[in-house]
Symmetry: C2
Subunit: 140 residues, 2 copies
DNA sequence: TAACTCAGTGCAACTATGTTGCAAAATATA
DNA sequence: TATATTTTGCAACATAGTTGCACTGAGTTA
């Protein structure tokens, strides 16, 4: 198994276990975001559902993954960039979901525009999800 | 029951039934967005869960309600403004969720900023959810 | 490398959430 | 008011997510 996977786990004070290695590896080898169900099935010899839930939860807590809410009420998970690894998120990018191929991706290079709020309101976090058609699907 | 409720239903070619009246009335008397569970419980004498699901689905299809995805994987529903009533949405506003009181509201007066996308990409719909603290909770 | 400790896993059982088919009831229309 | 059509409620099911507990396996120390 990839030594990078091992490093990420250790850097976050997590024991290196088979399920964590496999699940984390899925994210490193996929550019797109994955839903819980994707993980449960893609993991080949699949793990107990409970293990997948707990592993994802742990990764989110540690800042290894972040969640992307989607309109159809399913949460997807995606890798955080390196500067999230220390435990605090820098989720200043937004997300794109292709309505044709279903691909969900982080648009890392685009910074969230500032949003206006009513007076007295305080914003902690701004989630932006763009639904549309990706470049590959438009060419078909 | 409110005659306004009756009007909205008829304008959308929907039969006026007790459950539709009650559920729609909940939205008219609440400024905040409601989750499925809220509706099921707030409706007092509660309706069958299936009826609530189907009623909400119908309202969304007709453009009476729109959905707001939240990070915790629960979809909330909110009334559309009058110009949605004819069946096509004008969801050019964004949403705010207060992390203290849980209130979810539509910020009708703020227009979605334009977002940049990679070349070739096409945006159909942009969902923005701002998490933070509302004015009332900040003063406490 | 053997033994110990504790985090992590898997199972079972459960709750919550959402869906479908169908018969009964209510609504709209003439 | 009678009839055609919608809507509802029930039952049964499917999927998603949670909790407690016993066991396994990873990390650590000698």
């Amino acid at each position: 198994m990839n030594t990078k996977v091992h490093d990420i786990l250790r850097r976050n004070q997590l024991s290196v276990t088979a399920s964590r290695e496999k699940i984390l590896n899925l994210f490193l080898t996929n550019t797109r975001a994955l839903a819980h169900a994707d993980i449960e099935h893609k993991a080949g010899e699949r793990f107990d559902r409970v293990t997948v839930y707990r592993t994802l939860q742990t990764f989110v807590e540690k800042g290894i993954l972040h969640t992307i809410p989607t309109a159809d009420n399913s949460v997807k998970y995606a890798l955080c960039k390196n500067d999230c690894f220390e435990g605090h998120h820098h989720d200043n990018h937004y997300h794109f979901i292709c309505s044709v191929c279903g691909k969900t991706e982080c648009l890392e290079d685009f910074v969230i525009p500032s949003v206006k709020l009513p007076k007295e309101y305080l914003a902690n976090n701004v989630e932006i999800v763009v639904n549309g058609v990706c470049g590959i699907c438009r060419k078909k």
